[in-house]
Subunit: 345 residues, 4 copies
């Protein structure tokens, strides 16, 4: 069985495993105060061209979203998000559990626009009863999105400009940031993110690491006491160096982009093959997630050898599904999948 | 200026004020442990034909909604509500501030159906990733709704049946319960609510009292320790007897229904007059809130003598507004409003 | 039965009731936006010599403490308080319910010192693991305290100075502020509180009003959006004018201090009589709460005609109890109590 | 430099690393639904002689404590804990951040007694104002404690009996459970814990794993929906198998007890050597943490070659410090430390 249902089916990139083995018996201080973490922070600051950024390592995405959002908002404020945003629908109400409402904006492709943010803000403040309504206090987006789409540099710049004008911190969930940076046609860099946002994170769990997300904080107010917040929300790993070693490995020789490009290129190969077979897609994705609309009987046949996620029922005969590639996907696996799809058609 | 923008523009019914004056210098114990509260509880249990009900008095609606909902849910659960529900949009995220998500259902008229509840429940449990989604844990409805509409007995029975089948406690926000019970064509009684729900409240603030909401708890698990929860959420009035005296007055001689019927009857008079003038309505309301769609220039003219709430822009020339009657509205005031509307037309 | 167990056994001062009656049928806007509230705010700003202060009216003390404290703290911060502070032990964990720890300091008399605050702050920051400990984020004191004691001007100035030096906002719970201002030997004024604190409140519930607390905010950051926070925590009274009318009455002719002085003077009369009978006290109180240590058999006898609160068991034969006077206590009532105590001795 | 300041200075036991390497490129489903987790659950149920127990894997201790406690309590309830308990002082207010008060009990040795629990319960319910006080809702203990001490079987049985009598769920924080089970003189087994508690966890982070805590739930009510709660609190690892593989390795051949015994035996060797040199101890610990009281100048000298934690200032010349052994400590390291202590004396 070859697994394509998500991008976290395997352990870590072999170079990471090797480094973890080599360093295993070394003794270091805990909680991210060790030298591996420090070097990884420097490498990330450098990759982001942001020498003043604060960099912290957390274990997972929900934890990171919760910690950052609860740190930025006052109690009466909510976070603007696409209705498809991970925080809106796939974190078991974790944001609400910290006391804050997720203020959803409609979205077909997983993205929101600067114009939507401005309108939500204006609608709030123009409402005579606005004190009775949770106040928009920040903006959350994902890059790439839950639909596999990516924000262009122009879109990000427009969002950033409106957020700064309206004093709404902008937070980018980068659980799949590598795949966004490596996306077909992408024109956004880490330095752009550091320049345009208040805080974002570089996902490790889905991009080559065993686990771990690197939060990059540009906003001065948010930098203050952030380690307290990580600890309080349960995100401070005792053996913090495990995260430092992994991010050091990912960023010292370009491994992060290397594995990201590999995953995207294999996803595009799959996409083109499916298009060639005449299938359409639920979302147009230039990244590692592909959402083809496939006949149910075909799905049944290939499910004997491959896993995928069911995404949406299209009609009685067709279903949109998700195939993910990852840092670990091989060309042989994709070729096998394509061959089986062609045969099952 | 005559005020119709809401149903809390005046103090309390004169009989309540008289009782507060008469009892003012009496000395009683605090926090609702006095005899006035006890008598009021008995009168309410009797009116509800629910001798085993627990009855508690809180000060206001947001507080009551927050206290009840946070008491019923486990941390990972949310509350199903119409998207127009008061808790969804007009309580500054108070429910989220207790850690729980409001799970909204679409609604044109302010109501939700048994079928919607079942579907939301099924959709949740049929989702393969349901553990990543806030779980529907109870159902919130308003009677009357924020749109002035009321649930019929058949609708309530259907909701109650599905809630019991699915083990979802049913909570009715009765901030305007008197006006619902007195609504044109209403076939629901207090006894029906006690029979069909887990908990509901009888609004005092908008129906004759200075302030106060009487929570009627039928659900055994919710009865336990409820006074702790009132205290924790800031709803336990030190001079609790103020609420007891008011509800005693409202329920000892039928005053609650008397003032409710008066308000509804004047609202219907206004509605019929507006219909007679050829105006339509945003919502068809048989209660004390009326939502006519009126020309902007007419609104401008009558705003010199009457207040109302702006509800929704219909087009460039017309706006839907809200006129509320209340226990304190007089026939002369409604006649004056009707005359001014006719003159301004 | 004459009640001395607390200072909220009766309704409101007759002049307040009269004003509520006179204004009862007037129509005003809701939620504290009416002219009565506006005038009351001006009177309070004037009494505090604080023309720039923001003044808000909430219904009760727990609600006010919760709203203010949750508004001031970031998620990882706690509030320093005497271990006897109301927030520490008598609000059913309301502060914790907003996510914040109450950081208690030992206190024999209900007060804390500037030195204790400095030490708590230093201890926190000197701890190598301070990021693993809730951070002191503000200071809460009560004036008068739960033990009936009062801070002198010198004590308040010292606390204020250390709080400003350490950037810890200082919040004064004034549920019994009138009785503190009128305390025997008091040298603190409302203007001092406005000068020395970030926020405090002027208690109405226990000092002549039916209910209501007037929050006076000096801290600029806290002023922002405070009405949202009141609404979210359930403290925004729909008929807000009820609070405005009461505070206007209390502050337009000096009624607040008049009733406070009356209560304190009767409490001192009781204290002196008890001392004269040879009884000691649990706390030395110059305010309206007195805590004599009395023989159990005497308590049994007087409990047939008077109520009081049991405070602490001293030994097998004696108990410390609390007698409270209030704005409503009469000289005849105190004389009756003293006579009964003397007779029962 | 040899590190003794805590028990998480190194990676994982080599057999764990080897298993992680061997399985690294396997593809499995996520979030703990894989077969490694299933086998690890079976092994743990078997070790606990608790075939009906629910077993879940979380990443770290603070997260685990928060998730379990917030799942067990209603909003007005707090958790009883020794004042030295990890949740009371070393989790940055994480429990309070979920809305609950930590109700501390005095403790010299890190333990609390059945009698203390009963008294706290009785004190609460006997207080006339108990509805104004956070209600004791469960009991938290650590085994071994933060002071290195362990509960005997008799002590645990007494605690369990009183908890069951009073309907207070009993939760054991087992971050260092291995070292407690292996403690000198220990008479408690995993099966005892499963028999006597509602929920406990088996610490991996400090006992041989890279990270991970295995929660064992006996209480039926707590079993329900527990995975939602893990997800909401950020504890659901995407690559859940990483935890499963580690606990499988720890429990399939007795490795967990083997490494625990090794750490304890080296700690006892250190303790005996220090005693032999005439030094006393802050706590009498039969486990892997030792708290000797040592002269400051000796500490200065050995700090050039060894790390330790500063625990408490004893007087101007002596300080209590903590030395920890762990699964990774070697006999040579302890011998080196002892030699250096002897030389520096």
């Amino acid at each position: 069985m070859t697994r394509f249902e998500c991008d976290y089916t395997q352990g870590a990139h072999p170079r990471i495993m090797q480094r973890l083995m080599e360093t295993n018996m070394e003794q270091t201080s805990g909680y991210g105060t060790d030298e591996y973490c420090e070097r990884a922070r420097d490498l990330i600051r450098s990759a982001c061209e942001a020498p003043e950024a604060a960099v912290h390592f957390l274990v997972g995405g929900t934890q990171t979203n919760t910690t950052v959002i609860a740190a930025l908002l006052r109690p009466h404020q909510g976070v603007l998000s696409a209705e498809t945003g991970h925080i809106a629908g796939h974190e078991t109400g974790a944001i609400e559990a910290t006391g804050h409402k997720v203020l959803t904006l409609p979205s077909g492709d997983g993205k929101i626009t600067a114009e939507q943010v401005r309108r939500a803000y204006d609608d709030h403040w123009n409402d005579a009863t606005h004190e009775h309504i949770a106040q928009p206090g920040m903006v959350y987006i994902s890059q790439s999105t839950e639909n596999g789409t990516v924000y262009s540099l122009a879109e990000l710049e427009a969002l950033s400009a409106v957020c700064r004008e309206l004093s709404l911190p902008l937070f980018v969930d980068g659980a799949r940031l590598g795949y966004a940076l490596a996306a077909e046609g992408s024109d956004v860099t880490l330095a752009d993110l550091a320049r345009l946002t208040d805080v974002f994170y570089i996902g490790g769990t889905k991009v080559g690491a065993l686990m771990g997300e690197a939060v990059v904080i540009l906003n001065e107010a948010l930098k203050r006491d952030f380690r307290y917040l990580i600890k309080q929300r349960g995100g401070m790993l005792a053996k913090g160096r495990l995260l430092g070693i992994q991010f050091e490995t990912l960023f010292e020789d370009g491994l992060y982009m290397e594995v990201s490009r590999s995953a995207v290129s294999l996803a595009i190969k799959l996409r083109d093959a499916l298009s060639g077979m005449g299938f359409g897609f639920l979302h147009e994705s230039p990244t590692n997630q592909q959402f083809p609309i496939l006949p149910n009987d075909l799905l049944k046949r290939i499910s004997e050898k491959h896993t995928f996620s069911t995404w949406a029922k299209i009609d009685e005969e067709r279903t949109a599904v998700r195939f993910c590639t990852s840092w670990g996907t091989t060309e042989a696996e994709i070729d096998g999948l394509i061959a089986d799809l062609a045969a099952a058609k």
